[in-house]
């Protein structure tokens, strides 16, 4: 019988939530990897929103 992994189990494989968060240090700047990933995703979505054409052009 196949085993189906629950969503928390899948997350646990990808990210170990029981450990302290990882941080990036750059001079006096310190930021968690989680926050850095979110900022990177926002930049990516921002660029895509400008680059990808909108499907239905207005006529007015």
């Amino acid at each position: 019988m196949p085993t189906i992994m629950s969503a928390p189990a899948v997350t646990a494989v990808l990210v170990d939530l029981s450990r302290p968060g990882r941080y990036v240090h750059w001079g006096f700047i310190q930021i968690s990897v989680a926050n850095l990933v979110v900022i990177g995703l926002m930049l990516l979505v921002f660029i895509l929103a400008i680059a990808i054409p909108f499907p239905h052009g207005g006529k007015k």
Partner: protein
């Protein structure tokens, strides 16, 4: 009742005050509101062609996420902490509230970047920009009080670390981040109310002034 006696008792169409010009505060308010924001501006059925871009979608996405946050927060308030900490449904709604907030800020920041690079305060839209900035700033305070209301080690850590910072501003005397009851009430009532009012004014100003157009291309007629 002076407001009634001021209006002459004449049939409509004859000399004197017409029903829509009677000197009542309600009438004046209505005429001013309709002149400021006529129905075709308040609920437009078309937008300029430049709005057909994904970058113009993020304001509406932010509003949608705000709706999810308000609705899930209302459910949490009705059911209480025993429910959201323990039951499966409570944990789910608690997570919806958290991830709705994450998306709210995700979309709002992209909306902010888009409007910043468009210089969206152009064309008498300064008040629109300022209400957006205020909504963003007060949203941060709302989220902060939410993190303080988690009732776990994370909220204790945030509260004790923030206490020194807030004391340094002088606000610690009346805004105590270690007072759970005060933070919870600010989170569920005062701050969301201010954010909702700011967002409401922001949207009405967008309706009044219209969506900001992009910069003209180089060499084009300005």
């Amino acid at each position: 009742m002076s407001t009634i006696s001021d209006a002459p008792m004449e049939p409509a169409g004859q000399v004197g005050y017409r029903p829509d010009t009677r000197p009542t505060w309600t009438g004046r308010l209505r005429r001013r509101a309709v002149a400021t924001l006529p129905p075709e501006k308040l609920l437009p059925d078309s937008q300029p062609s430049y709005v057909a871009s994904w970058i113009y979608v993020f304001g509406a996405l932010t509003l949608g996420a705000f709706g999810v946050v308000l609705a899930s927060g209302a459910v949490l308030a009705v059911k209480g902490p025993d429910w959201w900490h323990v039951s499966s449904a409570g944990l789910f709604v608690n997570s919806v509230h958290l991830w709705g907030t994450e998306l709210f800020f995700f979309f709002m920041v992209i909306h902010l970047w888009g409007k910043f690079f468009m210089a969206a305060w152009r064309g008498r839209r300064r008040a629109t920009w300022i209400t957006g900035v205020l909504a963003f700033a007060i949203s941060i305070a709302t989220a902060f009080t939410g993190y303080l209301s988690q009732q776990n080690f994370d909220s204790e850590w945030i509260g004790t670390q923030a206490k020194d910072g807030i004391n340094a501003t002088g606000a610690g005397a009346f805004w105590n981040v270690l007072d759970f009851g005060q933070m919870l009430l600010w989170h569920v009532l005062l701050l969301p109310l201010v954010v909702a009012v700011m967002v409401g004014i922001h949207v009405l100003l967008v309706r009044r002034r219209g969506v900001v157009p992009p910069f003209p291309a180089k060499g084009a007629d300005r």
